[in-house]
Symmetry: C2
Subunit: 191 residues, 2 copies
């Protein structure tokens, strides 16, 4: 998605430690006009996927997943990182390591929202090592649902999470894939 690559170049910031900060338009602050375009592009990519529900994980995945859900008229489920009074009954759970927070979280989804047989499109803002996506796939498959696709707005191709999933046979489409990123600039993968 050329518009997203341009946006990353114009508004993203490279921070020490390999962090790409897109807080000006995707995290912290969300450019909702642009977010609609992101949702429309995800809908275009996965219109033939047969998806019946979108699955993401709180917190920063929610905006992208909701934009996709609105564009596709599909419900969005978000996995939670802690059990709250709002989570009812039995849950599917998976252990996910967050590099951003440097800690492990059990993510969980109430079984109510994942009946067997749903066709799940997994959506997140970032795909790097793939820890969150792997956790979401595990939850969907535990629930006897089919993962029909995975989509991140921004994939860090050099951290291999996306390519590892592709090698396992999953359909992974990211709107922008960064294959190299350092003080000299950002190299996007041709798609």
């Amino acid at each position: 998605m050329k518009a997203l690559e341009d946006k990353i170049l114009a508004e993203g910031m490279l921070l020490p430690g390999g962090v790409l900060n897109v807080g000006r338009f995707l995290n912290q602050q969300i450019d909702t006009v642009f977010l609609k375009e992101i949702g429309a592009e995800i809908a275009r990519l996965f219109e033939d996927s047969g998806a019946t529900k979108i699955l993401t994980v709180e917190a920063s995945g929610i905006a992208v997943a909701v934009a996709a859900g609105m564009a596709m008229d599909l419900p969005v489920i978000f996995a939670k990182k802690s059990r709250t009074a709002n989570i009812d009954g039995d849950v599917y759970t998976s252990l996910v390591y967050s590099f951003t927070h440097d800690r492990e979280n059990h993510i969980m989804v109430s079984k109510t929202y994942l009946p067997a047989g749903e066709k799940i499109l997994i959506v997140d803002d970032f795909l790097a090592h793939g820890s969150a996506l792997n956790g979401l796939i595990a939850i969907a498959e535990d629930a006897d649902c089919e993962v029909v696709g995975c989509c991140a707005a921004i994939e860090k191709g050099f951290q291999m999470g996306g390519d590892n999933l592709r090698a396992r046979g999953y359909r992974v489409e990211s709107l922008a894939i960064i294959d190299q990123m350092d003080e000299t600039g950002i190299v996007f993968r041709l798609q």
Copy 2:
């Protein structure tokens, strides 16, 4: 908003301890078709507010705030509950007690996204005791921004957070206000 009251009656569940679970359409699972209607209603209510940015707090506020932002073409900022590698520089912070999680969180927003003079519309999914909203108001006012309105999808009127804010002069509009809620049913405030 009559459609939201009907949705609460049809799909909400009253749990022990005064918890209203709306996980089927607003938390956990989000009915994105209905969420668009929520966004449009917030836009209608606050079209004359002069708001320049929407402020919410992760995680479950994000969907409602994004829907409002899309309907109003306004950027959405979400306060975070923990400092991550993505948060740049100085932050405005406030201490918020979460009844749902039974713990205190420092919520924070990078100063970058709240320059002085912005007109802030605060949006959240729930308003009960008002702890989150008070924290968000404190952050906006610390930043020398003006709070032009507060909007929750669902307000628990009997927990007084909304009315306390109204008494302090804030414009608070909730799409559905529950004044009583027990095993005999739910009583909505006439608006």
